[in-house]
């Protein structure tokens, strides 16, 4: 138990902060503490958390992927076009995942082969992919996606839980297995921790970074699949700005922006915290303008939490001595 706590210290602290937030929201409006509301929070964390866990892979290797919102939109358009045209939903899903993998691989190509800075490379593909989305659709939304597709993700199980919540859990479990139980996972951390050292000890850094960007692209596609099922239509403008929330969820969950550190558990908690915040502020009816302010402060506070905490500890230690 002690061991587990030490390993996930940061994550547990964020979890505690999230629980504290829930307590405060409940004090301000007792309705917050309802099963249906809890379910809403779970549902509303799905898109951002799936995007964030993919983003985390890119960040762990010391990179970043700003293009995920566009990959998200393109996947929606591709899958919507196939299913509206009468295609098999499962083939459409496969096609969507392949699109995500290809777009991710292209980011990997720019970062690895052309040696571009990940920030600049994906800033470029962010515009490129968004442009493709506009060109392909001519700006028109693809609508009337059949229920045969939508129910795969949007259908309800017991207690009102939708299938896409299970999809999110599966994504996180797979991410956990890749990072903690495979050699690739160790390589990913090694590349982000110290790329030169990793290379010298025989890690194929190029292949490892390709894997990170492909996983990131695929996660963006999965989020796109869920969005399409949830809305029933795909637009070329979907997902604009979603990369910032994904980065925020990963950072709050303890992913180090310089690379080398980050866990799926932490990112999950980060996504949960943002969803609690989003739903909670609607519940207590906080003015929209203030939501931006509060969200920004939470991100900053959470990211610098370790420093605050160290200061508090040092202060208390000094008091004890003196």
């Amino acid at each position: 138990m002690k061991q587990l706590f030490d390993k996930y210290k940061r994550e547990f602290i964020v979890l505690l902060a999230t629980i504290a937030m829930c307590a405060i929201f409940t004090i301000m409006n007792a309705n917050f503490l309802r099963w249906s509301n809890f379910l809403t929070i779970l549902q509303q964390m799905v898109l951002n958390s799936i995007l964030a866990v993919g983003m985390m892979f890119a960040i762990i290797t010391g990179g970043i992927d700003l293009s995920i919102g566009c990959t998200f939109a393109i996947t929606g358009i591709v899958v919507a076009s196939i299913t509206v045209g009468g295609g098999n939903p499962f083939i459409a899903i496969l096609a969507g995942l392949i699109v995500g993998a290809l777009l991710g691989a292209f980011n990997g190509f720019l970062v690895n082969n052309l040696k571009l800075q990940p920030f600049i490379a994906t800033l470029g593909t962010m515009s490129l992919y968004r442009g493709i989305a506009y060109v392909v659709t001519g700006g028109q939304p693809v609508t009337n996606v059949p229920d045969s597709y939508r129910n795969i993700f949007n259908g309800k199980m017991f207690a009102g839980i939708r299938y896409y919540i299970i999809v999110m859990i599966i994504v996180f479990v797979i991410a956990y297995i890749i990072l903690q139980k495979t050699r690739t996972g160790a390589y990913l951390y090694a590349v982000g921790g110290n790329e030169e050292a990793a290379k010298l000890s025989g890690v194929n850094t190029v292949k490892t970074k390709y894997i990170a960007y492909i996983i990131c692209g695929v996660c963006a596609s999965i989020a796109g699949l869920v969005m399409l099922a949830s809305l029933g239509s795909a637009e070329s403008t979907a997902g604009t700005g979603y990369e910032t929330n994904a980065i925020a969820a990963a950072a709050i969950g303890g992913t180090r922006m310089a690379g080398g550190r980050g866990t799926p558990f932490g990112t999950f908690i980060g996504g949960l915290m943002l969803a609690v915040l989003k739903v909670g502020m609607v519940v207590i009816n906080v003015d929209s303008f203030w939501q931006y302010v509060v969200t920004g402060i939470i991100i900053i506070v959470a990211s610098y939490f370790e420093f605050i905490q160290q200061d508090v500890q040092a202060f208390l230690a000094r008091r004890k001595q003196g």
């Binding site: 405060i24 509303q44 969005m227 029933g232 906080v286 203030w290 509060v294 506070v301 905490q309």
Partner: protein
């Protein structure tokens, strides 16, 4: 361990102290709105005080019917006029319709006098400088008038100043407001909200809780539509009660999630007004999933909204008919060029579309008759 919890609570308390301030501020501002019964005049005072141009409250505002009444139905046109129309975001259905309207207007005028209307548009909402270049090109070519739909309130200001230096009149057509433009043609955004509230009240027997999904707060249209909706309720001492009002950044997914939360928190919510159709279509999905009985009203009248109304999902939208807006703008421009004294602001047609009139012809709904153009001597 205790210290960590303490630190956590401290940080959270700090943040929520702020949140609480925000909450109380919002309730204060909404109560002032409710108090002002003569809201129209309050609004005008506010506008006058800040000295900003607001086409929704501009005293000169007339509809095209009023203009035809006072200035005569016939519009004399000199052959050989060159007009430039600069708009934006051609990927958006609304602006494509506006372009078709300009083409239709040119066709109508050409029957009596040959003129050209050159329509140019940016591909998206982001190309502010590209749009400025388009207007400057038109000025350099020495066109007779410019009809411009700016991306922002500011991006065309210099270009419009250049046009005015060259004695080229500029007509501001909808959206971004050019304060210095000679004329403004566009729908009354405030009226959008007003019409929506009136319809909701009629459908609900004038009582029940309603929510408002706001667009980007920086957008003039978002502010005016929301205000119009709330003012109708205040002006009519309506039994409608706005219990929730938050923004969803014009984003369909965000609007859906917002509505999903509201539906759980406010089981008595009876209607949701959205600042545009995109968000309304997201809210419709949330309402369907919750199997709730809630009226959803949007603004814009995009094709997808019409389809949704026909399918019995969306309940209503306020359409501002860009196809006719362009024809009104062309008529106003040609009247001005003929030396007529057209008002500074022309309110273009708009109407609420629901299941009863969704299949009616738009011209019939707004009572549109084509402009009567005559060849000037």
């Amino acid at each position: 361990m205790k210290k960590k919890i303490l630190a956590t609570l401290l940080a959270s308390a700090m943040v929520f102290g702020l949140a609480a301030c925000g909450g109380s501020q919002s309730s204060a501002s909404s109560s002032t709105t409710a108090d002002s019964t003569a809201t129209e005049s309050t609004k005008e005072d506010a506008t006058a005080a800040s000295g900003e141009f607001n086409p929704d409250t501009d005293p000169s505002s007339q509809t095209i019917e009023q203009i035809r009444e006072s200035l005569g139905a016939e519009v004399p046109v000199k052959a050989g006029l060159n007009l430039s129309a600069v708009e934006k975001s051609i990927s958006n259905e609304f602006w494509r319709s506006l372009q078709e309207g300009y083409e239709k207007a040119e066709e109508n005028v050409d029957k009596v006098a040959d003129i050209t209307i050159d329509v140019e548009a940016t591909t998206d909402e982001g190309d502010e400088t590209g749009q400025q270049t388009m207007v400057e090109n038109a000025v350099n070519q020495g066109v007779d008038a410019i009809m411009a739909s700016p991306i922002s309130d500011a991006n065309l200001t210099t270009a419009v100043e250049n046009a005015q230096d060259a004695n080229i009149p500029v007509v501001n057509v909808n959206d971004g407001l050019i304060a210095i433009a000679d004329y403004y043609c566009g729908p009354n955004a405030y009226q959008n909200g007003y019409l929506a509230a009136e319809w909701v009240s009629k459908k609900l027997g004038d009582k029940g809780q309603v929510g408002i999904v706001v667009g980007m707060a920086k957008a003039f249209a978002a502010r005016e539509r929301t205000q119009g909706f709330k003012d109708w309720i205040a002006d009519n001492n309506s039994g409608l009660e706005v219990v929730a009002e938050q923004n969803a950044d014009w984003d369909r997914q965000k609007a859906k999630e917002l509505a999903a939360t509201w539906i759980i928190q406010n089981p008595d919510m009876k209607a949701i007004f959205c600042n545009n159709d995109d968000m309304a279509l997201g809210v419709v999905e949330a309402v369907e999933e919750a199997e709730a009985d809630i009226l959803v009203v949007g603004v814009d009248g995009i094709g997808e909204a019409y389809d949704s109304i026909r399918a019995g999902k969306l309940d209503a939208t306020v359409d501002s008919f860009p196809y006719y807006m362009a024809q009104v703008a062309t008529e106003v421009t040609l009247r001005a060029l003929a030396g007529q004294e057209v008002p500074h602001v022309t309110a273009t047609p708009q109407a609420l579309i629901d299941s009863e009139n969704v299949d009616k012809d738009a011209a019939e709904i707004i009572g549109w008759t084509d402009t009567v153009y005559t060849a000037a001597q």
